[in-house]
Protein backbone atom coordinates (compact mmCIF):
# COMPACT_ATOMS: atom_id res chain seq x y z
CA UNK A 1 0.00 0.00 0.00
CA UNK A 2 1.43 3.28 -1.01
CA UNK A 3 -0.44 5.47 1.40
CA UNK A 4 1.76 7.49 3.71
CA UNK A 5 0.68 7.56 7.28
CA UNK A 6 1.02 10.93 8.86
CA UNK A 7 0.70 11.66 12.51
CA UNK A 8 -2.34 13.74 13.36
CA UNK A 9 -1.42 17.41 13.60
CA UNK A 10 -0.68 18.32 17.19
CA UNK A 11 -2.39 21.70 16.92
CA UNK A 12 -1.34 24.51 19.21
CA UNK A 13 -1.01 22.28 22.30
CA UNK A 14 2.79 21.83 22.32
CA UNK A 15 3.16 25.62 22.16
CA UNK A 16 0.54 26.20 24.85
CA UNK A 17 2.21 23.65 27.14
CA UNK A 18 5.58 25.26 26.51
CA UNK A 19 4.12 28.67 27.46
CA UNK A 20 2.63 27.24 30.63
CA UNK A 21 5.98 25.69 31.54
CA UNK A 22 7.84 28.97 30.96
CA UNK A 23 5.39 30.78 33.23
CA UNK A 24 6.08 28.41 36.14
CA UNK A 25 8.38 30.79 38.08
CA UNK A 26 5.68 33.47 37.79
CA UNK A 27 3.13 30.97 39.13
CA UNK A 28 5.36 30.19 42.11
CA UNK A 29 5.53 33.90 42.89
CA UNK A 30 1.95 34.89 42.09
CA UNK A 31 0.06 32.21 44.04
CA UNK A 32 1.40 33.20 47.48
CA UNK A 33 1.26 36.95 46.76
CA UNK A 34 -2.26 36.59 45.36
CA UNK A 35 -3.14 34.62 48.46
CA UNK A 36 -1.84 37.44 50.66
CA UNK A 37 -3.89 39.92 48.63
CA UNK A 38 -7.06 37.84 49.14
CA UNK A 39 -6.55 37.65 52.89
CA UNK A 40 -5.84 41.37 53.12
CA UNK A 41 -8.79 42.37 50.93
CA UNK A 42 -11.25 40.57 53.19
CA UNK A 43 -9.61 41.97 56.32
CA UNK A 44 -9.96 45.45 54.80
CA UNK A 45 -13.71 44.88 54.50
CA UNK A 46 -13.96 44.26 50.77
CA UNK A 47 -16.65 41.65 49.97
CA UNK A 48 -15.46 38.38 48.41
CA UNK A 49 -16.84 38.88 44.88
CA UNK A 50 -15.42 42.40 44.28
CA UNK A 51 -12.11 41.29 45.82
CA UNK A 52 -11.85 38.44 43.29
CA UNK A 53 -13.14 40.66 40.47
CA UNK A 54 -10.28 43.09 41.09
CA UNK A 55 -7.73 40.33 40.44
CA UNK A 56 -9.57 39.40 37.24
CA UNK A 57 -9.98 42.81 35.63
CA UNK A 58 -7.23 44.97 37.20
CA UNK A 59 -4.50 42.28 37.53
CA UNK A 60 -1.81 44.51 39.04
CA UNK A 61 -0.19 43.29 42.25
CA UNK A 62 1.17 46.32 44.06
CA UNK A 63 -1.71 48.58 42.95
CA UNK A 64 -4.26 46.10 44.32
CA UNK A 65 -2.55 46.05 47.73
CA UNK A 66 -2.49 49.85 47.83
CA UNK A 67 -6.12 50.13 46.70
CA UNK A 68 -7.31 47.69 49.36
CA UNK A 69 -5.43 49.68 51.98
CA UNK A 70 -7.03 52.90 50.78
CA UNK A 71 -10.52 51.38 50.70
CA UNK A 72 -10.00 50.13 54.25
CA UNK A 73 -9.48 53.67 55.55
CA UNK A 74 -12.49 54.93 53.60
CA UNK A 75 -10.61 56.86 50.90
CA UNK A 76 -12.83 58.37 48.16
CA UNK A 77 -13.24 56.32 44.96
CA UNK A 78 -11.46 58.97 42.88
CA UNK A 79 -8.40 58.84 45.15
CA UNK A 80 -8.22 55.06 44.76
CA UNK A 81 -8.52 55.29 40.97
CA UNK A 82 -5.95 58.09 40.60
CA UNK A 83 -3.48 56.29 42.87
CA UNK A 84 -3.91 53.11 40.81
CA UNK A 85 -3.26 55.13 37.66
CA UNK A 86 0.00 56.59 38.97
CA UNK A 87 1.23 53.28 40.42
CA UNK A 88 0.58 51.46 37.13
CA UNK A 89 1.78 54.19 34.78
CA UNK A 90 5.18 52.46 34.46
CA UNK A 91 3.49 49.94 32.11
CA UNK A 92 3.52 52.67 29.43
CA UNK A 93 7.24 52.02 28.98
CA UNK A 94 6.84 48.24 28.93
CA UNK A 95 4.01 48.44 26.42
CA UNK A 96 6.12 50.66 24.15
CA UNK A 97 9.07 48.26 24.43
CA UNK A 98 6.84 45.33 23.39
CA UNK A 99 5.56 47.17 20.29
CA UNK A 100 8.40 46.31 17.86
CA UNK A 101 7.84 42.60 18.62
CA UNK A 102 4.10 42.75 17.95
CA UNK A 103 4.23 43.97 14.32
CA UNK A 104 2.76 40.75 12.92
CA UNK A 105 -0.08 40.68 15.44
CA UNK A 106 -3.66 41.76 14.75
CA UNK A 107 -4.94 44.76 16.68
CA UNK A 108 -7.35 42.70 18.83
CA UNK A 109 -4.46 40.33 19.47
CA UNK A 110 -2.27 43.22 20.71
CA UNK A 111 -5.15 44.55 22.82
CA UNK A 112 -5.63 41.15 24.47
CA UNK A 113 -1.90 40.59 24.99
CA UNK A 114 -1.62 43.97 26.74
CA UNK A 115 -4.45 43.22 29.17
CA UNK A 116 -2.11 40.72 30.84
CA UNK A 117 1.08 42.77 30.62
CA UNK A 118 2.51 42.91 34.13
CA UNK A 119 6.05 43.53 35.39
CA UNK A 120 6.60 39.79 35.47
CA UNK A 121 5.07 38.80 32.12
CA UNK A 122 6.88 41.76 30.52
CA UNK A 123 10.19 40.62 31.98
CA UNK A 124 9.67 37.13 30.60
CA UNK A 125 8.46 38.26 27.17
CA UNK A 126 11.31 40.76 26.75
CA UNK A 127 13.72 37.85 27.14
CA UNK A 128 11.68 35.48 24.94
CA UNK A 129 11.20 38.00 22.11
CA UNK A 130 14.92 38.81 22.11
CA UNK A 131 15.51 35.24 20.89
CA UNK A 132 13.44 35.83 17.76
CA UNK A 133 9.78 35.71 16.70
CA UNK A 134 7.65 33.76 19.13
CA UNK A 135 4.43 31.85 18.56
CA UNK A 136 1.27 33.69 19.54
CA UNK A 137 -0.23 30.64 21.23
CA UNK A 138 2.86 30.22 23.41
CA UNK A 139 2.98 33.94 24.26
CA UNK A 140 -0.69 34.11 25.22
CA UNK A 141 -0.36 30.85 27.19
CA UNK A 142 2.37 32.47 29.31
CA UNK A 143 0.01 35.36 30.07
CA UNK A 144 -3.04 33.21 30.73
CA UNK A 145 -1.08 30.94 33.07
CA UNK A 146 0.25 33.93 34.99
CA UNK A 147 -3.19 35.46 35.41
CA UNK A 148 -4.76 32.12 36.36
CA UNK A 149 -2.16 31.82 39.13
CA UNK A 150 -2.88 35.37 40.32
CA UNK A 151 -6.66 34.96 40.32
CA UNK A 152 -6.42 31.44 41.77
CA UNK A 153 -4.12 32.62 44.57
CA UNK A 154 -6.48 35.53 45.31
CA UNK A 155 -9.53 33.26 45.49
CA UNK A 156 -7.67 30.82 47.78
CA UNK A 157 -6.79 33.74 50.05
CA UNK A 158 -10.38 34.97 50.04
CA UNK A 159 -11.77 31.49 50.78
CA UNK A 160 -9.37 30.28 53.44
CA UNK A 161 -7.56 33.37 54.62
CA UNK A 162 -8.01 32.48 58.26
CA UNK A 163 -6.73 28.93 57.94
CA UNK A 164 -3.17 29.30 56.68
CA UNK A 165 -0.86 31.66 58.49
CA UNK A 166 2.44 32.27 56.79
CA UNK A 167 3.95 31.16 53.49
CA UNK A 168 7.35 32.65 54.34
CA UNK A 169 9.02 29.41 55.55
CA UNK A 170 8.80 28.05 52.01
CA UNK A 171 10.85 30.91 50.63
CA UNK A 172 8.21 31.58 47.99
CA UNK A 173 8.43 35.34 48.57
CA UNK A 174 11.83 35.10 46.85
CA UNK A 175 10.42 33.45 43.68
CA UNK A 176 9.78 36.70 41.78
CA UNK A 177 13.06 38.43 42.80
CA UNK A 178 14.93 35.26 41.76
CA UNK A 179 13.16 35.23 38.41
CA UNK A 180 13.92 38.92 37.82
CA UNK A 181 17.55 38.21 38.69
CA UNK A 182 17.75 35.43 36.09
CA UNK A 183 16.06 37.59 33.44
CA UNK A 184 18.26 40.61 34.22
CA UNK A 185 21.40 38.46 33.92
CA UNK A 186 20.17 37.43 30.47
CA UNK A 187 19.84 41.10 29.45
CA UNK A 188 23.45 41.96 30.30
CA UNK A 189 25.01 40.67 27.07
CA UNK A 190 26.75 43.92 26.08
CA UNK A 191 28.48 46.81 27.84
CA UNK A 192 25.77 49.37 26.96
CA UNK A 193 23.15 47.05 28.51
CA UNK A 194 25.26 46.78 31.66
CA UNK A 195 25.45 50.59 31.69
CA UNK A 196 21.66 50.75 31.41
CA UNK A 197 21.16 48.34 34.30
CA UNK A 198 23.69 50.07 36.55
CA UNK A 199 22.27 53.53 35.83
CA UNK A 200 18.67 52.39 36.36
CA UNK A 201 19.63 50.71 39.65
CA UNK A 202 21.43 53.81 40.96
CA UNK A 203 18.64 56.20 39.94
CA UNK A 204 15.99 53.85 41.33
CA UNK A 205 17.73 53.71 44.73
CA UNK A 206 18.29 57.47 44.71
CA UNK A 207 14.63 58.26 43.92
CA UNK A 208 13.48 55.70 46.49
CA UNK A 209 15.56 57.48 49.12
CA UNK A 210 14.07 60.80 47.98
CA UNK A 211 10.59 59.31 48.41
CA UNK A 212 9.46 59.69 44.78
CA UNK A 213 7.43 56.45 44.86
CA UNK A 214 6.11 55.19 41.51
CA UNK A 215 7.38 58.30 39.70
CA UNK A 216 10.89 57.35 40.81
CA UNK A 217 10.67 53.94 39.12
CA UNK A 218 9.48 55.52 35.86
CA UNK A 219 12.17 58.22 35.97
CA UNK A 220 14.86 55.61 36.73
CA UNK A 221 13.78 53.50 33.74
CA UNK A 222 13.77 56.48 31.37
CA UNK A 223 17.14 57.76 32.59
CA UNK A 224 18.68 54.26 32.60
CA UNK A 225 17.54 53.42 29.06
CA UNK A 226 18.64 56.87 27.82
CA UNK A 227 22.06 56.48 29.41
CA UNK A 228 22.57 52.95 28.04
CA UNK A 229 21.41 53.75 24.51
CA UNK A 230 23.61 56.86 24.63
CA UNK A 231 26.58 54.68 25.53
CA UNK A 232 25.65 52.33 22.67
CA UNK A 233 25.50 55.18 20.11
CA UNK A 234 28.74 56.63 21.40
CA UNK A 235 30.69 53.34 21.33
CA UNK A 236 29.46 52.60 17.79
CA UNK A 237 30.57 55.92 16.31
Amino acid sequence: MGSVRTLPAAGPWPEILSGMRQALPIVLGYVPVGFAYGVLALKAGLPAIPAALMSMIVFAGSAQFIAVGLLAVGAPALTVILTTFVVNLRHLLMSAAMAPHLRQWSRPGVAWFCFQLTDETFALHATRFARGPMSRAETLAVNATAQTAWVGGSILGILCGGLIGDVKPLGLDFALPAMFLALLAGQLGSRPRIATALAAACFSLLFLTLGWGPWGVIAACVLGATFGSGVESWTRS
Binding site: A67, S204, C221
Partner: protein, 107 residues
Protein backbone atom coordinates in the same frame (compact mmCIF):
# COMPACT_ATOMS: atom_id res chain seq x y z
CA UNK B 1 -19.07 51.17 51.38
CA UNK B 2 -21.91 51.07 48.87
CA UNK B 3 -21.58 47.89 46.73
CA UNK B 4 -22.29 49.83 43.55
CA UNK B 5 -19.55 52.33 44.37
CA UNK B 6 -17.10 49.50 45.04
CA UNK B 7 -17.81 48.00 41.62
CA UNK B 8 -17.48 51.41 39.95
CA UNK B 9 -14.14 51.95 41.73
CA UNK B 10 -12.83 48.57 40.54
CA UNK B 11 -14.03 49.28 36.99
CA UNK B 12 -12.23 52.64 37.11
CA UNK B 13 -9.06 50.97 38.37
CA UNK B 14 -9.27 48.43 35.55
CA UNK B 15 -9.61 51.19 32.95
CA UNK B 16 -6.73 53.37 34.19
CA UNK B 17 -4.53 50.26 34.46
CA UNK B 18 -5.41 48.91 31.02
CA UNK B 19 -5.02 52.10 28.97
CA UNK B 20 -1.29 52.67 29.73
CA UNK B 21 -0.69 48.96 29.17
CA UNK B 22 -2.36 48.93 25.79
CA UNK B 23 -2.12 52.32 24.05
CA UNK B 24 1.67 52.49 23.39
CA UNK B 25 1.79 48.93 21.99
CA UNK B 26 -1.24 49.52 19.82
CA UNK B 27 0.01 52.90 18.56
CA UNK B 28 3.62 51.85 17.94
CA UNK B 29 3.27 48.26 16.68
CA UNK B 30 1.75 49.37 13.39
CA UNK B 31 4.52 51.78 12.38
CA UNK B 32 8.24 51.80 11.69
CA UNK B 33 10.25 53.53 14.38
CA UNK B 34 13.42 55.50 13.88
CA UNK B 35 16.62 53.54 14.64
CA UNK B 36 17.35 55.56 17.77
CA UNK B 37 13.83 54.95 19.10
CA UNK B 38 14.19 51.21 18.50
CA UNK B 39 17.58 51.27 20.21
CA UNK B 40 16.15 53.17 23.19
CA UNK B 41 13.25 50.73 23.50
CA UNK B 42 15.66 47.78 23.35
CA UNK B 43 17.25 49.14 26.53
CA UNK B 44 13.94 49.42 28.39
CA UNK B 45 13.81 45.76 29.58
CA UNK B 46 17.22 45.95 31.25
CA UNK B 47 16.28 49.31 32.79
CA UNK B 48 12.88 48.09 34.06
CA UNK B 49 14.27 44.84 35.49
CA UNK B 50 17.10 46.63 37.24
CA UNK B 51 14.96 49.54 38.52
CA UNK B 52 12.44 47.12 40.03
CA UNK B 53 14.81 44.40 41.26
CA UNK B 54 17.67 46.31 42.86
CA UNK B 55 15.53 48.26 45.37
CA UNK B 56 13.62 45.08 46.27
CA UNK B 57 16.97 43.49 47.23
CA UNK B 58 18.88 46.43 48.69
CA UNK B 59 15.95 48.21 50.30
CA UNK B 60 13.23 45.64 51.04
CA UNK B 61 11.63 47.91 53.60
CA UNK B 62 11.89 51.20 51.74
CA UNK B 63 15.31 52.28 52.96
CA UNK B 64 18.73 51.06 51.83
CA UNK B 65 19.69 48.15 54.05
CA UNK B 66 22.99 46.52 53.08
CA UNK B 67 23.40 44.58 56.32
CA UNK B 68 23.94 40.98 57.44
CA UNK B 69 20.29 40.38 58.23
CA UNK B 70 19.12 41.30 54.72
CA UNK B 71 18.46 37.72 53.61
CA UNK B 72 17.29 38.56 50.08
CA UNK B 73 20.51 40.41 49.34
CA UNK B 74 22.73 37.49 50.41
CA UNK B 75 20.57 34.94 48.60
CA UNK B 76 20.73 37.09 45.47
CA UNK B 77 24.53 36.95 45.15
CA UNK B 78 24.93 33.20 44.42
CA UNK B 79 21.73 33.31 42.33
CA UNK B 80 23.20 36.09 40.19
CA UNK B 81 26.48 34.20 39.70
CA UNK B 82 24.52 31.09 38.66
CA UNK B 83 22.33 33.17 36.34
CA UNK B 84 25.37 34.71 34.61
CA UNK B 85 27.09 31.30 34.26
CA UNK B 86 24.23 29.04 33.21
CA UNK B 87 21.34 31.24 32.02
CA UNK B 88 19.18 28.49 33.53
CA UNK B 89 16.00 30.20 34.52
CA UNK B 90 14.62 27.37 36.65
CA UNK B 91 17.94 26.58 38.26
CA UNK B 92 18.20 30.16 39.53
CA UNK B 93 14.65 30.20 40.91
CA UNK B 94 15.15 26.80 42.58
CA UNK B 95 18.48 27.88 44.12
CA UNK B 96 16.89 31.12 45.38
CA UNK B 97 13.90 29.40 46.97
CA UNK B 98 16.17 26.76 48.52
CA UNK B 99 18.58 29.33 49.97
CA UNK B 100 15.86 31.52 51.47
CA UNK B 101 13.87 28.61 52.89
CA UNK B 102 17.04 26.97 54.20
CA UNK B 103 18.31 30.16 55.83
CA UNK B 104 14.98 30.70 57.57
CA UNK B 105 14.94 27.11 58.75
CA UNK B 106 18.50 26.82 60.01
CA UNK B 107 19.74 30.33 60.88
Amino acid sequence: MDPKLILLTIAGMALVTYLPRMLPALALSSRRLSPWAERWLSHVPAAVLSALLVPSLLAPEGHVQASWDNLFLWAALPCFVLALKTKSFFGVVALGLGLVAGARLFL
